[in-house]
Assembly symmetry: C3
């Protein structure tokens, strides 16, 4: 079986491919843990100059693997471990990695996919890529650190719209909102991302890492600022709520939720 | 006489209508106080899922009620009470309210109207709506908390332009700048806002409130961060200045100010 | 010989012209020092109401004067003094100046030019003006305070793209990203900037200064927030690196760098 997150090297350019074993473009708990290990490894590789982060089968990442949710979402402690250790472990390793990263955004970039894209330095999308965070339909809110990351990178107005209305925005709209830096025809996406990575790899590599370190020391205040402890202590109390159970049950039973 | 701010309920959706008794689209001191009470009431209503905030007679809110200004603006203490208690009382109640809010932006959205729109989660505008903050013509600066809110939501560059040049921007431009999320033909505005509120009301209501709470705990650092005390202590010293008096006198006398 | 930075007054409007003695549109160390003095002088002039900041010969500022770099860049202490005293001295004087400023962006607005534009309140560009920060080709990173200023004003996503990919963006793109407020045909640039300055100069001058003071007390947290001391202590250690020397040598020898 292929690894769910694959690291491939081609000279100074690496490609990290999100590849769910079931062939869907979701991210599982095992994939979050592998994402963390791979980015720790990338950060420790002195000759790497650029990382492309992409999906497979025409999609980037459409969100969490909902089939796994009943295992852990309905207990505050297992829910906390999922968000604070597995998800944030992966995202924090990406944010700590000083090698420049280019997100190759095809198909769907939703929920967890949006969060992974936020950790990249450049975001390039195919014209028909769709963006969203429709967890209001699944009956649960964003985890605080993830909300803070999304607000800092995607902008608070866009985040409020996506979360509270539950809709999708297309690539041109996400370009207009400053989240995506470039939109290209779908068939040009891989070529444009590769050409961008090559331009990045030609510039001074230590200067690039220093720039990312500087931006992290500052960005820390917005994207990774500490959240109030009293607030964090209660952030996962909703695990046992009827609304949460109904949202996920409805999805798995392929019916509309009744909130 | 109709109440100057009206709350109407239709199932899980409320509408707050700004309605100046004189039929103008300005906001009076009494309206700020009512705005506060209504949003405290909304926050305490467990079954509400979405609030539409709009004006009447085709306008949202063109700013403060300048006819009232000579009563209180020329003394530092009454001016402070106006900004810190009446205006900020209303805005703070909106910011503390966890029910999702959609601003229905028609006609003019200027000064105080811009501030009220900043407290909403989604901003939808008719194509001919105009935006501005032309108080430089009235001879006074933004109150610090209001400036901070506007800078956080409308963006510092847009705020500097509107304040320092005194011009207006149209709905498409405010969309391009990320303040407005959607622009529709004027005749479609009410329908689009209502449809948006219905989409919001279909999603998990507790998750929506938790998302707003999370964003407030973070946004607090930008939109509601504490300002330096020494600075706040002197923020209304300008009340007695000749420039301030000239700006307001000229407006009320329908002549150009001489600064 | 003409002064490298000239201050010209025309009633309440001043023009600061960046004018490199060699007729190139770069900024030298002497010019940074003069920029500081001129903005201290402007801040102390009670009758000034607006400052236009522009270049000469059709360009705004294409960056630092690279011919000077071998004199001071390869020793941590002289490099620190350059960035922390000369460059930041000029930028800090601009940021501390409460007179409204309009940037007249023609030709190239790169590196140091981008930083100077960030200190202005309004940015108006000719349609063919180009923007960038291609120092990755010169083998060095942004100085921390300058990175923080650029991230706050130009946006972190745009800064990452310009720094890490080394490309250029045109005026319309920088308008779409919210950095430039207005783009006009090249031949209309001077007229539009002058008309804007006249609009600014007609509004209440003390209110404008108070607005800028308020925004600075807040913006301080983002654009001028203190950086961690341990980080600043090591920020210029790269001065002696082979990569740094190679980037600058290659430029001066008119060859491609080998990183």
């Amino acid at each position: 079986m292929a690894a769910p997150v694959r690291l491939a090297l081609q000279g100074p350019i690496a490609r990290v491919t999100l590849s769910h074993p079931a062939g869907i473009d979701a991210i599982s708990r095992a994939m979050w843990r592998e994402l963390r290990e791979i980015f720790v490894q990338i950060q420790g590789a002195p000759d790497l100059r650029c990382v492309i982060v992409g999906g497979e089968n025409g999609g980037f990442c459409a969100g969490g693997d909902i089939a796994e949710y009943p295992q852990f979402r309905f207990h505050p402690e297992t829910l906390r471990r999922f968000h604070e250790e597995e998800v944030w472990g992966g995202l924090a390793a990406m944010l700590a990695c000083e090698v420049p990263m280019v997100a190759e955004l095809a198909g769907a970039c939703m929920g967890a996919g949006l969060e992974i894209a936020c950790c990249c330095d450049l975001r390039i999308a195919g014209v028909s890529t769709r963006f969203g965070a429709p967890i209001g339909r699944l009956g649960f809110p964003l985890a605080p650190r993830e909300a803070q990351l999304l607000a800092a990178v995607a902008g608070e107005a866009t985040l409020r719209e996506l979360l509270l209305e539950g809709g999708q925005l297309d690539a041109r709209e996400m370009k207009a909102r400053g989240f995506v830096q470039r939109v290209v025809p779908n068939e040009d996406l891989l070529g444009e991302v590769r050409a961008t990575a090559e331009r990045v790899a030609q510039l001074a590599p230590q200067a690039a890492r220093m720039n990312k370190r500087t931006l992290r020391r500052m960005a820390g205040r917005a994207a990774q600022a500490p959240l109030p402890e009293d607030f964090m202590a209660r952030a996962y109390d909703y695990a046992t709520s009827a609304e949460h159970r109904e949202g996920i049950s409805a999805f798995l039973e392929k019916r509309s939720p009744r909130f």
